[in-house]
């Protein structure tokens, strides 16, 4: 089975991996010169199916529950299983109650428990929600490692701008994300802006979400004292640079989380356009020979594994080594 995958963002790469382990011969084509041009590059990398339920349908949670295991199996050592901490400023405590009411699987923490989990937040928050069974990963590391692993598994990567024709294939999978919007009127872009700060003054062990009635934000710790601060949600497919207002809101929120962020270096600002369908739910569509995987919205790394499995099931029946061995014995 020869499969052509268009799009080398998280959707395309996850599908390539899922198909490669099932024995397909795969070519991944992408017109972009670098992974840094994909929306996935700007992702937070939170594998937080329970937290996401606050503003998403149950389906997102259900699809996302297996994500951490999938990534851990595909790229051992990538995933950090440290849960998610959700905090709020004292005057917004009702936001915390609201969040708790809309989600499951959290425990309520007091000041002491918060400082046990995150010593640097000692004394800053009197209450928090802790989603113990959530995880996070570094999206850029994940994309690079996955690409390298796939190349090692014999997957061919082809730059689509070279004018070279697509190789012969039995099935093609469109994982082009927002680029597909040009031919699918149902797909729209939702802009997300993020920034990366670097400071040695504070360290965190897990993503922290700061609830605010207007500017909910999260801070994800990354290697080498880096922190990813995200992310805005703006209904536009404009991919230009971050606006001053968004920057101010993100920095303001980071500063409220901990004043040490005020002294941090701004390493990078970025914006990506996420593809979404009107219900903000992902889709796998098509017949056996042409399929489309899209609409991951703000849940790329959370949903890519489950969607890759579904798409792969359409293309190839699942391969169960144990079952085959028994029948053939």
């Amino acid at each position: 089975m020869r499969v052509l995958i268009r799009g080398a963002g998280v959707a395309g790469l996850a599908l390539a991996h899922e198909l490669a382990i099932r024995g397909a011969r795969i070519t991944v084509m992408d017109p972009r010169r670098s992974l840094a041009e994909t929306a996935s590059w700007f992702a937070g990398g939170m594998l937080a199916p329970y937290c996401e339920r606050e503003s998403s349908e149950q389906l997102v949670q259900d699809l996302g529950l297996g994500a951490a295991d999938w990534w851990d199996k595909a790229l051992p050592g990538l995933v950090t299983e440290a849960g998610t901490l959700v905090v709020t400023l004292p005057r917004d405590h009702s936001e915390l109650d609201r969040f708790a009411a809309r989600t499951t699987d959290s425990v309520s923490l007091g000041a002491d428990e918060i400082s046990t989990l995150e010593p640097d937040l000692r004394g800053r928050f009197g209450r928090a929600l802790y989603f113990k069974r959530e995880a996070h990963l570094e999206p850029r590391v994940a994309l690079r490692r996955l690409r390298r692993k796939l190349a090692g598994m014999g997957v061919t990567f082809q730059n689509a701008t070279g004018g070279r024709p697509a190789p012969a294939h039995d099935v093609s999978a469109d994982c082009t994300g927002i680029a597909r919007a040009a031919s699918d009127p149902n797909l729209r872009g939702v802009r997300g802006e993020m920034l990366i700060l670097r400071t040695r003054d504070i360290s965190l062990s897990r993503p922290v979400r700061l609830l605010h009635p207007r500017f909910p934000l999260y801070v994800v710790p990354r290697a080498d004292h880096h922190f990813m601060i995200g992310a805005t949600m703006i209904e536009t497919d404009w991919a230009g640079p971050m606006t001053a207002r968004s920057m101010m809101e993100l920095l303001n929120a980071a500063y409220s989380l901990h004043p040490a962020f005020g002294e941090a270096e701004i390493v990078e600002t970025g914006a990506g356009v996420r593809p979404a369908y009107p219900d903000n739910l992902p889709r796998v569509e098509g017949d056996g020979t042409t399929i489309r995987v899209n609409g991951f919205y703000r849940h790329g790394f959370l949903l890519a594994p489950a969607m890759a499995q579904r798409a792969a099931d359409m293309i190839l029946p699942p391969f169960y080594p144990g079952v085959l061995n028994e029948t053939h014995r």
Binding site: P185, R188, G189, P213, I234, E235, T236, W238, D279, N280
Partner: protein
């Protein structure tokens, strides 16, 4: 029927379009509420001058009147510019005028509001000013040319319901002919019913519906509450008394004992 700026509206519930879990959820809520008017924020979704693209097409496709707003504007100049942009994008002279005075509470800057309202009214806009419940500011806005007022009943998104009923009642009493639409601060259907019982002409909601567990169901609940409050206002409410009054006369007891 409610008439604002010579336009008749079947519904007395205005719905905001921000913060829904998805555009599909927004469409469902608009349908369930049977609203005649939706408000839309121009500024927030206009990053890069790329006019909201698909999202705005969706708003236009809802088949209801669009009331663009100047949410996020902190100065007269910004608000006036945004209003003009909205007129181009949506082809309407309606503008819900917000001039924010306090970034944190989103409390209107009533001085800038009056000034911006005067400019926009002179330029032919139909201005729906988002104001406080202050009577004198209301008078100034009417002097500036507004023919609708949109007082808050509590800060935006606070879900606290009517905080100052006396002032709201006083507004209604002073401006019997002006459409008064309560904008901001409503959290539950009972809040909407309460201000409608006071005789307000309509309410505008966003967060209470968009952030509900089931936005469409909450939109329908608000629609009923608005209707109930309006009907109750017309039916003539019984004013509270300080003593119990039996609805059936008690036979065999001394009445004035």
């Amino acid at each position: 029927m409610l008439t604002v700026y010579d336009t008749q509206l079947a519904s007395r519930l205005f719905l905001g379009t921000a913060q829904y879990p998805s555009p599909a959820a927004l469409v469902d809520a608009v349908r369930a509420s049977a609203t005649s008017v939706v408000t839309v924020s121009l500024r927030r979704e206009a990053a890069g001058g790329n006019a909201g693209g698909q999202f705005w097409s969706l708003i236009r496709s809802l088949g209801v009147s669009v009331l663009p707003n100047t949410a996020g504007c902190h100065s007269v100049k910004e608000a006036v510019t945004t209003a003009k942009m909205a007129r181009e994008v949506f082809g309407t002279g309606w503008i819900k005028l917000e001039v924010i005075g306090n970034h944190d509470t989103l409390q209107p800057d009533v001085f800038g509001l009056v000034e911006a309202a005067r400019i926009l009214c002179q330029e032919g806009f139909s201005v729906f000013p988002y104001t406080t419940e202050d009577l004198v500011v209301a008078e100034r806005l009417l002097d500036a040319g507004c023919r609708v007022l949109m007082p808050w009943c509590a800060p935006i998104g606070s879900a606290k319901g009517p905080r100052n009923r006396d002032a709201l009642r006083s507004l209604r009493g002073h401006f019997p002919e002006i459409p008064l639409i309560v904008d901001a601060g409503l959290g539950r259907p009972s809040h909407a019913a309460a201000v409608m019982e006071l005789g307000f002409d309509a309410v505008l909601l966003n967060t209470a519906v968009a952030k509900a567990g089931d936005p469409a169901a909450m939109a329908a609940a608000f629609a009923k509450a608005v209707e109930a409050g309006r009907q109750a206002f017309h039916a003539g409410l019984l004013e509270p008394r300080d003593m119990a009054v039996p609805s059936t006369p008690l036979i065999g007891k001394a009445v004035f004992a």
